[in-house]
Symmetry: none
Subunit: 213 residues, 4 copies
DNA sequence: TATGAATGAGGCTTCATTCAT
DNA sequence: AATGAATGAAGCCTCATTCAT
């Protein structure tokens, strides 16, 4: 059954694109697009300069592929999570935040947020892609959830679009901080993200709930 | 009386450093540090490449000078504003936010936030400087204000450090958005920052106040 | 009797060198030595990059082998043709020209002339080889033929060495044109090589013959 | 009168483009387009790599500029020469050939012929330009001259288009040879171009003239 | 044998910096 | 002080060649 157990070489080849994307993600997040040398990406993926170009035709294409690859699943998973939820909107909010933090806040892919912010104006098509695939779906998910809460009487009536930003901002801030100042070994205590998010939800829900605790 | 009425050349010469810093700010914010060419900075300031180096010995020093120059005043002004405030902490919060948005959110200097986030890991000393001069003072200002409100019974007791992040995050998010996706002419309506901040304060104060309205 | 009926694989294997030389010839003529990638040669020969190196140890050796292979036979055949000729030198000239055009002008091997001209200075030993194996024999053949014609009274006395160049030039020009401008699909009518050669021989023989028609 | 004597720096700057084109011409002719490194061109022009790119944005543009610069004048000069000629077409032919040989055959610009032959298929637009600016005008000039000779009874009637090729070929051959095999220091006597051209005209005119000498 | 993934020297090009004017 | 031509280190990318399978 030679075909069922591909040679190490084969297995390596199939893993290469992901290995390169992982290396690219960590380096682009660390140093930014322009300051990252393509040879560094290759080295971090354990291959030589030339090999990178067997898989991605240019540094720019590597970057775009990396962004695209890091984005598709997260949102769809959150949407699925929301769809199958039973219970109050407040508890769904807590669940979504915790889930999002686990998947974005803690994983390397969270750095995408930082790099998209930094590079949006240099890669407008990519920015549009990010808005379409990540920002807008996320906002719509949360806006829908707030609307449902308002309709059921659980929440006070609030301007949905704007409230969504207020909900999202602290989490984005935490992720951004983690990949910028938080990664700098500065003097001062590190940020306790979990605690911040707890306080946020506490404050926000008091502000949102029709009958606060 | 040459000193009392400087020639246009003199005046020009004295304005040079600030003109260069302004050009540097707008370009570094627009494209990032590495992707900005020093000749572009000179051109936007209306001088030649060589002249830039008469005032700043390297691109990196120009960058650092630009960051330093864009930061000192804003914080001290907020501190002063808070010191002379008379009235409730809630109203002071509203005042500070409005003031900060006017000075950071609407002015070019707001872009500093974006670029510091993007470049913190490439310029750790600068990051430390930014933390010391901007982030920490701001947090301490707000934490003190919250503490005062709690002490006076105006606010519920909340974890100060963490609540501060929740207060700040939406504004940072708005500034960052303005200089990244917001500058991209993407499909979709632009962000109404004023409205978002109103909603934020509305929600936050309900969460904070011991006796909500 | 394995040796009398070789397997398809065997036959294929034995044909490989020639297939590679053919591919090399067409590509080197088309794009020049430096601009031709060895992988292209392999692809046009229907094999993989690695296989090429089983037959020729380097691109340069492949090139040399291709030049050598494309040259040996043509000259010896012309010499043989001349040796067995019976009749006037004028008619032999016509025969040789027609023969040469058929074998060089119309076949892919004619491109060798172009590439040797282009690469002579990059491959001096190859240039020497080409001079020794092609240019000089051809010149000697024609010079001998002219000398014979002069001796017999058929031709006027002319400087042999120089007249040979005049005889050869139009044909070389036609071959070169065919593989350069002629292969470019330019505006303008294509060159009618046969007609040009007819006119050439007509003019030349009037110039040569002791008693022109 | 500072403006009438530009500084050495200024003078240098104005000379640079031509110096670079000269260096490019000699190297491209010597080694071909692909085998010439842009740094070599710069070095031969006495400047550094970077300086080349201040004047020409890429190797390809340098190449095109070099070809264009080497071509315009020669043809127009020949046309002028022909226009002001008084006397027989035979003598004009001799004059033109001698002139062309002096300007093309002996000067570095003659190498253009070789490189255009070698690179026509890699630069089709340039090939078209060359055909339009050099080949066609030359052919039309000679065709017109032959036609005039035929009309006046000086020449026998001959197929003009084809005869033109026969006239041109030996000269092209000599130039090509000079820049290929002739530049190789091969064994064997160098080609005596003047003598070959004399023999050619002698033979050709016998073939052309209605009443040969 | 044949393959094609991998390598890395080398070429093209950019751009921070210098310096003669 | 101001200029901008010049430099050359450094980055992106190609492609001849190797080698494990």
């Amino acid at each position: 059954m030679a075909s069922s157990t591909p040679s190490p070489r084969q297995r390596r080849k199939e893993a290469r694109p992901q290995e390169l994307l992982d290396a690219a993600l960590s380096l682009f997040v660390e140093k930014g697009y322009a300051a990252t040398r393509s040879e560094e990406v290759a080295a971090r993926a354990g291959v030589s300069k030339g090999t990178l170009y067997l898989y991605y035709p240019s540094k720019e294409e590597l970057f775009k592929a990396m962004v695209r690859a890091s984005l598709v699943s997260p949102i769809t998973e959150s949407v699925a999570l929301a769809a199958q939820h039973r219970g109050s909107m407040a508890s769904l909010l807590r669940t979504l935040m915790a889930d999002w933090w686990a998947r974005m806040g803690m994983s390397p892919a969270g750095g995408i947020t930082k790099i998209m912010m930094a590079e949006a104006r240099n890669f407008p098509e990519l920015a549009q892609f990010y808005v379409d695939e990540v920002i807008r779906p996320t906002q719509e998910l949360l806006a829908g959830l707030l609307a449902k809460g308002v309709a059921s009487g659980e929440f006070r009536p609030v301007p949905l679009e704007h409230a969504v930003h207020v909900l999202i901002a602290p989490m984005l801030h935490l992720v951004l901080h983690k990949h910028s100042f938080g990664a700098c070994a500065l003097h001062g205590p590190p940020l306790d993200a979990k605690a911040v998010l707890d306080v946020q939800l506490d404050l926000m829900l008091r502000g949102l709930l029709a009958s606060p605790p």
